[in-house]
């Protein structure tokens, strides 16, 4: 054991001599790929300049504003505004600026349309973030200084569209005002602003466009209240829904006189039940009402007169209107018919006939149409042509024109919730000869080219060809398992409830499935996806079966909402089984146990803290009952600042059909609410492998790592300092770090950092934890490391005890023993703030570790763990230097070459996932946010394999040359000897 440890360490030392491994320019894209996304589109604005370059500007739910190529769907430019800067509205002004309103109507920005440069930015004083409206007058002559109006938080701002200066500002001095509609009658200087005060009062303002003067203001209250939706029907009539959503209220406000008229919806639409929704639209005299079963188009003939024009049966979607001329507007209707979609365009002047009618074949894994944006173009025969931008249920974006999907973007991948990996199938025997010959020829050709490259004989064209071959290597994109374990499937779950499998070779989507149980239905109104786990990882006797993953969701955002399970085949995406559970899902614990079919046992803790065992088979219950006394779990109650530990027990008879177990509270830790709130908890990865417990330090001494799977790191901060950085003074801010054993509830270590504040990020691995926080005293970010060592095994260092067998190396460790641990810790300054943190993981745990830090610039930085060694000292001794201890510095270095993402950015970085490859030296790194990035890294270099550009041909050639030389010299020597003999 110790010998193995020594060996492992020796190897480590040998190869950890290089601190950073950088990439050469021609290696970019060889092992890594990067995909850019934008997220689910909220608004789209078409821009059809006469110059021809046709593009569409979109804003998304991931707070991205982007300009897309209408012909290909490629991104011209995009800006990720960040999580806290929600985009409210987007528009185009002056024909060259994209204007975005964000952060609850408080930030207005203008971006240059051709290249996305920011032109100006204005911060607006808004009393309270509320629903805000952006109004860009469209019918103004270009050249005049156009004003942009922003309504929000009971005030109106008018800004110059050329430089963003606030021209005038009008406080409407009413609380809880929500402007619903703003419009400007043709060729007038008066703006009409219509809205609600509170829930029952309707108000209309007439505002001078030039000065902001309120010309007229009229209010009227409506006793049954409004629900807050309204749709403008004509210049003097607006239609709203009442609070119960069963009455339409048409409001006329001509000349400041307000009249209400109620229309009971079932009187109008007999099949109506439940609640109605008004679809935001701006048609002349037409109203779109969404009732449960269909969309109903109503024509507003007068204040009291509504007429049904058309009922569009769900699932369907309807677009905004597109003005074609002063009188005519067009709109699009998309309606599902099983796998087809009917696309119709109508003019509002003539609703009975269709201008355009097309049928599109649609992939079933995209779900229903959610949003439609219509755009027109002039056909070659000078008639109007129409195309639509369609947002689907899985958040993908399609462009439909002439009955075809011109392009599609899988933008659901911008909102990944969780991910896991799956091995690819093993290569089957009996590959056809032709394929081998083809690949052999390719192989030879490739190597010949490479050889030329190595010998500097290649022409520039050939160099390019070599690079292309390297990038599009057939090898790396195969759908089978490889020897090094580089080829895998990354299975991701998106917020839309779609599961996609990405190939690690080039990031292509192998399969995708929109889970039926995670779609809106009558039983489950508001489903959302939670996690994805490995359900079945076959090996040994179940090898012929495909692996499968478990997708867990919940019906609604409350903890007591019923859970959702779905089991998906990892190779094909076929849904094996899916069900809505009878209980809620609070935690899921994958157990390290499998049943006879290699299905992993999972414990689901519901909201009543009852434990449910899955899969629900008698076989799994039997396996589970054997291990039940050794199963412990804990729950962190963040709001209450309590951590509780439990075991499982059976009260009464076990119901074999239900498999429900009761919790037994074993321990609790109560953090004093006045001084501490839980900020973060972190645990070790379940599947992490530690090579050895021993750590050989200088002078041939050994320290034993305290390696426990049950270590929980908890960070608590002062309640005053739980806000943003700077919200508390250093005296009232502190941070406590705890290391807790989750079986016995023991606090193994507890340390306080005075003057420290969150946000905290932490990563736990082996026997150490690294956490990142802000030091208010030093005005810098800091990273601390805690390493915990087991003292109870110290005695084993005595060789005689080892020889005589008096050691305790083989005794099992119990969490109930009194732990005898020592702790070493150290803090270092770190330049960046951090978005996410992870640690590399390798197959056997021999390779040294690197921390992967998602920086604020959306890059992933690899930092060697040796920099975060608590044993670093200012002047390390010679033996410590040999061990690889770096002299102590006060801050951690950021080496530009050690960015894993090299020149790329993973916009909106949220998570970094590491998976070990089969090759010990290599870790696969998948980082996701709005973008996806995958690469593989070798923290101690690839000491166990030849690099990919190793020239086998050159080696072969050398051998051949050597053999030839050998033969020649042999022949020569024979000849010479013969001559000698004949002398």
């Amino acid at each position: 054991m110790t010998i193995r440890a020594c060996l492992g360490l020796m190897i480590l030392l040998l190869f950890s001599s290089t601190i950073s491994t950088a990439l050469f320019e021609d290696q970019v894209g060889l092992a890594d790929w990067h995909q850019k996304y934008i997220g689910k589109v909220k608004h789209a604005i078409f821009h059809t300049q006469k110059t021809g370059r046709k593009r569409v500007v979109v804003s998304t739910e991931e707070n991205v504003v982007a300009s897309l190529d209408l012909r290909t769907g490629d991104i011209f430019w995009r800006h990720v505004l960040g999580e806290i800067d929600r985009i409210d509205q987007v528009d185009i002004t002056l024909g060259k600026y994209v204007v975005t309103l964000s952060s609850g109507g408080s930030i207005l920005r203008a971006w240059n349309l051709p290249d996305g440069q920011m032109i100006w930015e204005s911060i607006l004083q808004v009393s309270a973030p509320s629903k805000s409206l952006l109004h860009v007058p469209a019918n103004m002559n270009v050249g005049k200084d156009n004003l942009i109006l922003v309504f929000g938080g009971s005030s109106i701002h008018a800004l110059s569209s050329t430089d963003g200066q606030i021209v005038w500002r009008k406080e409407l001095s009413t609380n809880s005002l929500e402007i619903q509609q703003v419009f400007q009658p043709h060729d007038s200087d008066i703006i009409y602003a219509l809205g609600f005060i509170g829930s029952s009062e309707f108000v209309a303002y007439y505002v001078n466009y030039k000065t902001g003067e309120v010309l007229q203001q009229s209010k009227a209250s409506f006793k049954s209240g409004f629900c807050g939706e309204a749709s403008l029907a004509s210049d003097d009539v607006i239609v709203a829904l009442d609070a119960s959503r069963t009455y339409l209220v048409s409001i006329s406000f001509r000349n400041g006189v307000i009249n209400f008229q109620q229309i009971y919806i079932p009187d109008l639409i007999p099949e109506f039940f439940g609640k109605a929704t008004l679809l935001p639209s701006k048609y002349n005299g037409i109203l779109a009402v969404d009732i449960a079963s269909s969309i109903v188009l109503l024509r507003v003939k007068g204040v009291n007169e509504l007429e049904i024009i058309e009922k569009i049966i769900h699932p369907s979607a309807i677009s905004d209107s597109l003005p074609l001329s002063k009188e005519q507007q067009a709109f699009a209707i998309l309606q599902h018919d099983e796998s087809r979609i009917h696309f119709k365009v109508k003019f509002d002047t003539d609703l009975t006939s269709e201008v355009l009618k097309e049928t599109i074949q649609m992939d079933g894994q995209r779900g229903n149409v959610e949003k439609v944006f219509i755009n027109n173009y002039i056909r070659t025969d000078r008639t109007h042509g129409f195309r639509v931008l369609v947002v689907m249920e899985d958040h993908s974006l399609l462009l439909v024109q002439q009955g075809e999907i011109v392009w599609s973007r899988e933008d659901g991948l911008a909102s990944i919730v969780d991910s896991t990996t799956s091995e690819l199938p093993v290569e089957k025997e009996g590959v056809s000869v032709a394929e081998v010959e083809h690949s052999l020829f390719e192989w030879l050709k490739g190597h010949f080219l490479k050889l030329k490259g190595t010998l500097m004989l290649a022409s520039p064209d050939e160099v390019a060809a070599i690079q292309a071959i390297r990038l599009k290597s057939f090898e790396k994109n195969k759908m089978t398992r490889d020897h090094n374990g580089f080829r895998k499937l990354i299975i991701v779950l998106t917020r839309a409830g779609k599961v996609l499998a990405l190939h690690t070779g080039d990031g292509r989507i192998v399969w995708s499935v929109l889970l039926p149980v995670l779609r809106k239905s009558e039983t489950c109104g508001n489903p959302f996806a939670l996690n994805v786990y490995q359900w079945q990882v076959p090996h040994h006797h179940a090898m012929h079966e495909n692996p499968s993953v478990l997708v867990v969701g919940r019906c609604g955002h409350n903890f007591d909402a019923p859970g959702i399970f779905s089991i998906v085949d990892a190779y094909t995406g076929k849904v094996h089984n899916s069900l809505v559970l009878e209980h809620s899902v609070r935690h899921i614990m994958p157990l390290p146990l499998t049943d006879s079919t290699e299905q992993h046992l999972h414990i689901v803790i519901d909201n009543n803290l009852h434990a449910h065992l899955y899969p629900k088979t008698s076989d799994s219950v039997k396996i589970f009952l054997d291990e039940m006394p050794n199963i412990y779990w804990y729950s962190v109650e963040v709001g209450k600042n309590i951590i509780k530990g439990y075991s499982l027990e059976i009260k009464g008879e076990l119901d074999m059909a239900e498999n429900v177990f009761q919790p037994k509270e074993l321990w609790s830790i109560v953090f004093p609410s006045k001084s501490e709130t839980i900020a973060l908890t972190a645990t070790r990865k379940m599947n992490e492998i530690v090579h050895t417990q021993a750590k050989i330090i200088a002078d041939q001494d050994v320290m034993y790592k305290y390696i426990s799977k049950n270590i929980l790191f908890v960070a608590t901060v002062a309640p005053k300092a739980s806000g943003e950085i700077g919200s508390a003074t250093p005296e009232e801010a502190w941070l406590y770090a705890y290391l807790i054993d989750t079986v016995s509830g023991r606090i193994l270590h507890r340390v306080a950092h005075q003057g420290a504040q969150g946000p905290i990020h932490a990563v736990v691995s082996e026997n150490w934890v690294v956490y990142h926080y802000f030091n208010l005293r030093a005005h810098r970010h800091e990273m601390s490391v805690i390493e915990i060592y087991d003292q109870s095994r110290e005695d084993n260092k005595d060789v005689w005890k080892l020889v005589l067998g008096k050691h305790n190396l083989t005794t099992p460790i119990s969490s109930y023993s009194k732990p005898d641990v020592t702790v070493k810790s150290q803090s270092y300054f770190f330049t960046h703030s951090v978005k996410s943190m992870a640690v590399t993981a390798t197959a056997k745990g021999i390779t040294s570790k690197q921390l992967l830090i998602g920086t604020i610039g959306d890059q992933v930085l690899a930092l060697d763990k040796r920099f975060l060694d608590p044993r670093r000292s200012v002047n390390p001794t010679q033996s410590e230097k040999e061990e690889g201890i770096i002299p102590l510095t006060d801050s951690l270095p950021v080496v530009p070459q050690s960015y894993v993402t090299h020149a790329l950015q993973v916009e909106g970085l949220r998570g970094i996932v590491t998976t070990p490859a089969k090759l010990e030296s290599t870790t696969l790194v998948f980082s996701y946010g709005v973008d996806l990035f995958f690469t593989r890294i070798a923290p101690s270099r690839t000491y166990d394999s030849l690099t990919e550009d190793f020239s086998y041909a050159l080696l072969l050639l050398t051998i051949v040359a050597l053999v030839a030389a050998l033969l020649v010299t042999w022949a020569l020597s024979e000849k010479k000897e013969l001559r000698e003999k004949w002398r």
Partner: protein, 295 residues
């Protein structure tokens, strides 16, 4: 550094233990040393009849008679320990007494923790035996706030009952405090708990308790090297010279093979004269044959 401190702590623990055991009947009121982090006492059951009454004592605050009257900012507090045998409810099991020290900056800390355990009743003994048989959990709890118990909640800790029995019932408390709040109590056996756990009854059905009070450590400040870096720049040329090694220490790896070679050469030289005759004869034989061939 850390390990040596740990060792000295252990030594201290052992020596104190020894002293306590030697002292025998003497029941000290005062701790041996004014150690804020570390207080312990071998609690004797029923040593203090007033405390062993199985009432659930509410927290009493009384002016401590032991203290000189000049320090009003230090007072004694008591809080009770309750235990549970498996499923049934919690029952009083003992009382902790600690001194509450008020600091000038307004904080309060607990020091000098003492513990007295109630004697096990026959009923409790039976319950404990049953727990031992079924390898169940022995659970204890203390209030999370010592001034107004139980505070927000009780702080609970459990151990497998089979971990406790040795000679007597040996238990070990570590109480983590934050001012007057108890964050956690770690309860367990005084030493290792073997796995698999064997059923073993104690010789003496009484508890021997060890208690430790722990406050949070302060993290060391992040080192800053501005001055040292400047100093290092000045004396860049000097550097710290490694201590001069002896000649033997430096060159032993060359010397040993050299000695071997010399020895080898010597033995060969000694053997040479003996073989010379034989060697000559063979040479004599061989020389003509070669000449023949060459011809």
């Amino acid at each position: 550094m850390g390990s040596s401190r740990g060792r000295s702590l252990v030594l201290f623990t052992l020596s104190t233990l020894l002293l306590v055991s030697i002292a025998g009947g003497f029941q000290s009121d005062e701790l041996l040393q004014d150690d804020e982090e570390f207080g312990l006492e071998g609690g004797r059951p029923a040593a203090d009849p007033a405390l062993s009454t199985p009432t659930r004592p509410p927290i009493r605050r009384r002016p401590d008679p032991d203290l000189p009257s000049g320090s009003p900012d230090s007072k004694s507090v008591q809080f009770s320990l309750e235990h549970q045998f498996g499923g049934s409810g919690f029952f009083p099991a003992g009382t902790f007494t600690a001194r509450l020290k008020s600091w000038s900056h307004g904080g309060q800390t607990l020091t000098k923790l003492r513990f007295s355990r109630n004697a096990l009743t026959e009923e409790e003994k039976g319950a404990f035996e049953r727990l031992l048989k079924e390898d169940g959990y022995y659970t204890i709890r203390v209030p999370s706030n010592v001034l107004n118990a139980p505070g927000r909640d009780f702080v609970i800790s459990s151990v497998r009952a089979r971990c406790i029995p040795r000679e007597s019932l040996d238990e070990h408390f570590i109480i983590h405090t934050d001012g007057v709040n108890i964050v956690a109590v770690n309860y367990g056996s005084a030493g290792a708990c073997q796995y698999p756990r064997m059923l073993k009854y104690p010789a003496k059905w009484s508890f021997t308790s060890f208690t430790v009070l722990k406050n949070s450590e302060q993290a060391p400040r992040t080192p800053t090297f501005a001055e040292e870096l400047l100093a290092g720049e000045d004396g860049l040329g000097e550097g710290v010279k490694p201590p001069e090694k002896s000649f033997w220490a430096k060159y032993w790896m060359y010397l040993i093979p050299l000695v071997f070679i010399v020895l080898n050469a010597m033995t060969q030289a000694m053997n040479m004269p003996e073989e010379q005759t034989a060697g000559q004869s063979t040479q004599a034989q061989r020389t003509p044959s070669t000449t023949v061939r060459r011809r």
